[in-house]
Symmetry: C2
Subunit: 396 residues, 2 copies
């Protein structure tokens, strides 16, 4: 039997998806599951995007430009300029999801054995992309006590070595919901310039900033133009996770030229989803206003609910649609499995993502879970009732 690669064996299992077989078994038993584990919103995709696909007039579904439709890139650049991100269509490569944009970025700036520093907890699939690229993630701890604010710059600098190629942030954060302040972004920018390393920002949750807070892009900082790389995606913005359309953008011409070589190798991003994504740029502001209002209400219900449970500690998110909660259990992984395998309340249960998979440091976040507030308010309320009851049952 020929051998699997070391890399393949090292690929981490997704903490968001690893409980799926248990959930499938529970569903077979007739259980209703409230899925708090995955950032799959129930919000409707803008009709302007869905209609554009419905009205397509394609006869030959041919390759598009490797960087994506030129028209889409230019229109996307208009969208960015409205968000104080001065970028042109030539500084953007459309990718197959933010996932591929991350792979292009990692491949363009780091070699096997190189290091990228990331505040943890972080989006778990960064581990997968780093493993696939042979890159080492160096975590710097952010804490639930500060709502996962930026760790002190000194903590980053202690970790910088000649192998450090970049700092990677997710802003607003998945899984933390933390939105970096202008001061924090400026501190990161100064550090990137000082050490001449890249600052890569995953800004896919840009629109999801609550309580009137403003999002600050790394691309808005003039002096950072050679050091900043932005990762983006339409998945969350337009509730279009299935589109798998994202982009990588940078004003650093070498970065874009290099990423373009990766893009050319895989020929082009998918056509129909580009049509949908381009049309989605015409989504009226009212859509976002309603969505943000809805998410704010959901967040408020979830956080208040979690805070009402004895022994639960939660970091209040200012953006995205996740929070990290510390539960009164020893091992959240065991608890999450138990919820699916053994527990039920009136034949219902909940599914959460154990947070340990969002940490790179071993044995960290063991009693934490990530909860996505992407469900209807009444379902979130019900999920809180279930969690409260489940914790009581589990701990007795």
């Amino acid at each position: 039997m020929p051998k699997i690669s070391v890399k393949g064996n090292s690929m981490p299992e997704s903490p968001i998806r690893k409980l799926v077989p248990f959930a499938e078994a529970a569903i077979k038993k007739g259980r209703k599951i409230y899925q708090l584990n995955i950032g799959q919103p129930d919000i409707k995709t803008p009709s302007v995007a869905l209609d554009a696909v419905r009205n397509h007039t394609i006869e030959v579904l041919s390759y598009s430009h490797s960087a994506g439709f030129e028209g889409y890139r230019n229109k996307l650049a208009d969208y960015y300029r409205k968000h104080d991100i001065p970028v042109s269509g030539e500084e953007i490569i459309i990718s197959t999801g933010g996932s591929e944009a991350l792979l292009f970025a990692m491949g363009s700036i780091a070699d096997a054995g190189d290091e990228i520093i990331i505040p943890e907890p972080f989006y778990a699939n960064y581990n997968g992309f780093a493993t696939a690229s042979g890159i080492k993630i160096i975590p710097v701890e952010s804490k639930i006590e500060t709502n996962f604010a930026l760790p002190p710059i000194a903590d980053f600098e202690k970790l910088i070595t000649p192998n450090t190629k970049a700092i990677l942030i997710c802003n607003p954060g998945n899984p933390t919901g933390y939105l970096y302040t202008k001061e924090e972004i400026d501190q990161l920018a100064d550090m990137a310039i000082k050490h001449d390393i890249f600052l890569v920002a995953d800004e896919v949750y840009r629109e999801f900033a609550y309580d009137g807070a403003k999002h600050h892009s790394v691309m808005s900082i003039e002096k950072l133009k050679n050091h900043a790389i932005m990762i983006d995606s339409v998945s969350k913005r337009y509730s279009m996770c299935g589109a798998r359309i994202g982009c990588i953008a940078s004003k650093n011409k070498e970065v874009i030229a290099t990423a373009m070589k990766f893009a050319q190798a895989r020929l082009s991003p998918p056509t129909f989803e580009q049509i949908a994504s381009e049309a989605a740029l015409d989504t009226p502001q009212s859509y976002f206003d309603e969505v943000i209002e809805e998410y704010t209400l959901r967040r408020n219900i979830l956080i208040a609910g979690l805070e009402s449970i004895d022994g639960v500690k939660v970091a209040t998110p200012k953006g995205a649609f996740y929070c990290i909660a510390e539960l009164p259990v020893k091992n959240a992984d065991d608890f999450a499995k138990w919820l699916l395998e053994e527990y039920q309340l009136d034949n219902e249960t909940i599914m959460v993502a154990p947070a340990a998979g969002f940490y790179s440091t071993p044995n960290t976040g063991l009693n934490q879970v990530r909860i996505a507030y992407v469900l209807k308010r009444e379902n979130l309320e019900r999920a809180i009732v279930i969690l409260k009851d489940a914790l009581t049952v589990y701990n007795n």
Copy 2:
């Protein structure tokens, strides 16, 4: 200025796309270009696929399963069984193009520094995927004199080292058009088993076999079940290059479980194109009959035309829709550029892919080009007239 990675700098430029800027400049000058450089068919996509997308009823464009729609995988397995490929839906992972399937395969079976042996000339983007994966391609020469038939097994065995993880073939071949015989596939299978390495077959041109020849899949060989990995794509079969839907299939459970970890990291393949691809499985046989007849006629026109030009040598393809031609020029790269920059016949010219980029051995195939016969017959005839004239002008 932070540095680009060594890997990024090593990423090869696509030989199919590197002349694009010259072509764009020629088009600006008002030139009409016959594009023989890229395998983008002008054949219509089956209406059943395009209509399925037009009739979609999606309200929330959500993530699909990381392995692709279960329904699609099962229906795809039915299609394979009709082609003597006994595979089930669980042995298939839907990928974003054959490109991603190749990345999953390489990542699952080889580490940085490991080697994969490939008969050359080979599909140029294998170089890109290998570079991105840190894998070394070891070429074994196939020759125009034998129409690029399988090199002797002894030639492969001379190259096998402890770092050799797989043999990769493209069957029928891009860029050679060679279709491996049953005996050749059996020889490869025996070698893979003997040395306990994988045999990866890119079979995206399966349907395109001419003169009544039969395609033989590595997946049809019972004893090879732990060693065979199949790469596939809908791009050429249904003239759906823009869909970016492919798959990796294997009866080796470890391979599929490992590839699945790569698939989970990028969440899912695009939804609309999966809808199109699933519907495309209902394409009537008459569509393929017509397409194959059309490609056969095109091939006959192209090969007869090329053979009629003094000093041109061409390998007759038995499959796919490419051929490699040796031209009476010293450097086909210079000639291809000259065709776009300087030459014109009644304000028309042709674009070809210099073949050197399809070889891994330096300074090989310098006087060869790859020609795709994906254009209408009258355009191919005109392209031959232009090539004949251009060679006369260039050589005087």
